[in-house]
Assembly symmetry: D2
Homo-oligomer: 303 residues x 4
């Protein structure tokens, strides 16, 4: 190994992924808007860049893990420096959850500079990232995908290739997050129905997630929602709204209503309006309790 | 063993359960509205009753597995003959998915005759019933629950006791069916979003149900919905609507909105309006495709 | 004139209607569960009955104005005394907002005793009732409709005949109340959108209800909602929920989804869950403000 | 008079407005993408420009009536020529229904060139535009508003000033179109409920729109929807979706859920998906009938 990679975005998810890459033997040149977050990586040998494009080298690979479309566009689309530095044979490996439309625009512009674009959005919370247990959806430039496979394997427990459309992997990611958000709302409603009828929410959650719904999403989220425990924050509620809205926009562009996604939009947006942007996204469940006239326990940190 | 049980209701679910009871050594006195359905059981030693209450004997146990509240009320509530025949020490073991309110009324009336009421709604499709792999929710009369445990064990792979409120087990059952119906709608929307964006619905379903959603409900229903394969009919669409509506009514009585259940009500009711009552309840997914302007494949049997 | 009528139900609406009948020259024999409410009418010559059926006389007319299906059923369906006293040639003139299904059951049973059933649900708040300005929907027994026309004219500004189906007039009434509830929710959302964008809610309401929506419902409700003024109570929020639910049940029976009615159900039910049953039904608008994270002004009386 | 105005956009609405301006004595320099639409105006003395900015003269007034944000941005935001030609003292009078956010961006950029921006979105269908009976919402640059008042009076029956925020008038316009779209959906559901219960949809519509809902929107749209008559096309269904989506985006930016707007989005988007973009926007009602399993009459022109 020993190859040097550029890495931009050391947030909740980016940081543990970068750590895993170092552990796997890669050398990293890193950039993050808040520089202090990069420090622990420097002691492990990473080199700090003073601006995003500086992490790139000719024909090299740059990994990005950023919050939203705007952040990715600012670094890789509106500014051509990254493309110019990477040049022919370079690769942009994009882990962020962004819209398929933005992914396609990125791929198109990169191609003009001979840079290959690979979309590789991931499933998993920060703990899974730290443990190298993410699930990875891949799509994009065929040759580049081969070259980045070992990188992806160093932080994922498995990857799935959805072909050459650079937007495809993000469609799957949006489908997945939409399914998770739906499960959160569904469990919030179900456990509240149980509570309103005199049952113990935790016990009902246990039964259903040990049997019919014995899978990671239902078990981990189901217990948090049953316990009404909305911290630690694995994924911010405001980012949950962003992802639901990306699904809705993608659905609108492709001419299909998603009434369930509309409902989730309304629920998460209300959470934002009530000042819960920085709680974990399961805190959308508070809205279900409020609508039912139940008192809201004050266990959770305020946004 | 060798105890004689009364058994009323030999439909999709009742028949395989009754078969398992015979296999486990029980003697059955059975009743079904359509008598022909009872025939195969007679050859295994079951005795046919000419009307429902006739299956009961003093101090005995009667198992019922019927389509809805009205059917259970007709047999066990509006007609006192069943109570009179069972008498003190008798038990009504009620497997049907009915409203918690009806369960409480049944328990109250039975108690007047010294009959114990045990609610034991089950999760699982007909294949699971045949294999003795149902999950059973229990609640109701404490002493009676002990006595019926071996019966339940002969057709279930596990049971969960939710206490003495005769309505409690049905609340859990309604929560569970609500979660399943939500998953059906969510997967229908997600796979359609994938299809509309040029992806292979089956492959997206595979990825998500092998990873984040690796549990029976998502795997079995997810593949059917991805394949748009709505037969064989495990659970009729019209019964799905009935269960969503029981959840909504229970929520209304307990003063809580369930916006997701409202959405499911609208989807399944539209399926009924379009003549799909007798398709499998996953055929609600056809509505998602229609709303998206997609042609509906004509693979499925018409209602 | 001078004819004697029975009159059952002296609530918010029944009382002013009964007053108008006396003013028009009718003699009334009245019954109300809370007897004190009848007192002012007694001083105007009305006679008090000690139980409902006592207001009837052979071949006479009994007017009922009650809160819901259960109240009407208790007086006129489960108890045959009213039918027996009215007998052949008698008429039940039913002003209550009930389900079309209950109306049909009433008509059927009355017919067995030779009693004609006329459904005559009314539109208008208590002030309109006092002013004799109600709008009346009629349907039911043809001959009886002719005989009750002058009665209806004494409290209505106009009536519309929807034929002989005893349920028809109530279908129209449910349609109308559904349209009003929708307008309440729509204006609550629109005025809040204006407020959130820095505009004066009252001025926006004025403009739109003086032009495109220059009609009574939008003008009276629009201003209340803009001012966030939820008293005096013309129509209780809990009754609003009842009417939305009657529309939904009627829609379910006739196999059609009403997604808008589902949304209204969720909104009004949440109002009930939050303890607002006894506020005016426009107080459903508080839910819109809460979902938007706006502080709720405490001008309104608590339930 | 005799003042010369620039006028861009001669569609369904722009054409009759421009005609009224000529009738009122203004001289017009016009531009339209499809030049043939301008011809009848040329015979009335209008002069044709070969590209948009050419309609402007120093210190003059340019009126725009375009389909959406993108069209307005292309002409007045991304291209500075219009600003440069108008220069100090010039005015952009913008009649299009666009987002408040775009209006604010326009005002800001115009101000840099000394050009005043006045938002003046209008209510009314093409017939009302031809008759000079539009309702006009105004907001924006104070001095400019005084100068354009006679222009607005020549095509409107009244105008309402919402202050200096250039986005304010468009917020009111979006509120109004949201209320209309809601009324369309509500009447579609109500008339279908009546039909499903054996009543005559037209008669129910007549009663309710002569009494409680005796206002232009309910009367004109109510009858079309009752008759299921979706042509002539006053306002295209695709533009209805655009306006509902502008309301939703504005609500999202201002942090408030609008569940009713979400429902309308789903309904109109489904209309687009089914190929009905070019029908009148009342054709959204077809979705209500389809969901209810009713056959769709083929009276309407296909998209």
């Amino acid at each position: 190994m020993g190859e040097t990679l550029g890495f931009i975005g050391l947030g909740n998810m980016g940081y543990p992924i970068a750590s895993n890459l170092i552990r796997a033997g890669y050398k990293l040149r890193v950039y993050n808007r808040t520089l202090s977050k990069a420090e622990p990586l420097l002691s492990q040998g990473a080199v700090l860049a003073s601006r995003p494009a500086e992490v790139a080298e000719p024909g090299g690979i740059v990994v990005t893990m950023l919050a939203d479309d705007q952040a990715v566009e600012a670094i890789a689309l509106r500014n051509r420096e990254l493309d110019e530095r990477l040049g022919p044979g370079g690769i942009h490996l994009s882990l962020s959850t962004i819209s398929p439309a933005t992914a396609r625009k990125l791929a198109e512009q990169h191609a003009q500079h001979g840079v290959g674009y690979v979309a590789a959005p991931v499933f998993g919370r920060p703990e899974a990232a730290a443990a190298g247990k993410l699930w990875v959806c891949l799509s994009g430039h065929r040759e580049s995908k081969k070259r980045i496979q070992p990188i992806v394997d160093s932080f994922g427990q498995g990857s799935f290739d959805f072909g050459e459309d650079p937007g495809a992997a993000n469609v799957v990611k949006l489908c997945g997050n939409f399914l998770i958000a739906t499960a959160i709302e569904a469990m919030a409603e179900a456990w509240t129905l149980a509570e309103k009828n005199g049952l113990d929410r935790v016990r009902v959650a246990e039964m259903l997630t040990k049997t019919l719904f014995a899978c990671p999403i239902y078990q981990s989220y189901g217990e948090r929602i049953a316990q009404q425990q909305y911290d630690p924050v694995g994924f911010r509620l405001a980012l949950g709204l962003k992802d639901v809205d990306l699904a809705l926009q993608t659905a609108t562009s492709s001419q299909m209503p998603m009434p369930l996604a509309s409902l989730l939009h309304d629920r998460w947006l209300s959470g934002v309006a009530k000042g819960r942007s920085n709680l974990d996204w399961t805190a959308a469940a508070l809205g279900v309790a409020e609508d039912a006239g139940l008192p809201i326990a004050k266990k959770s940190p305020t946004a």
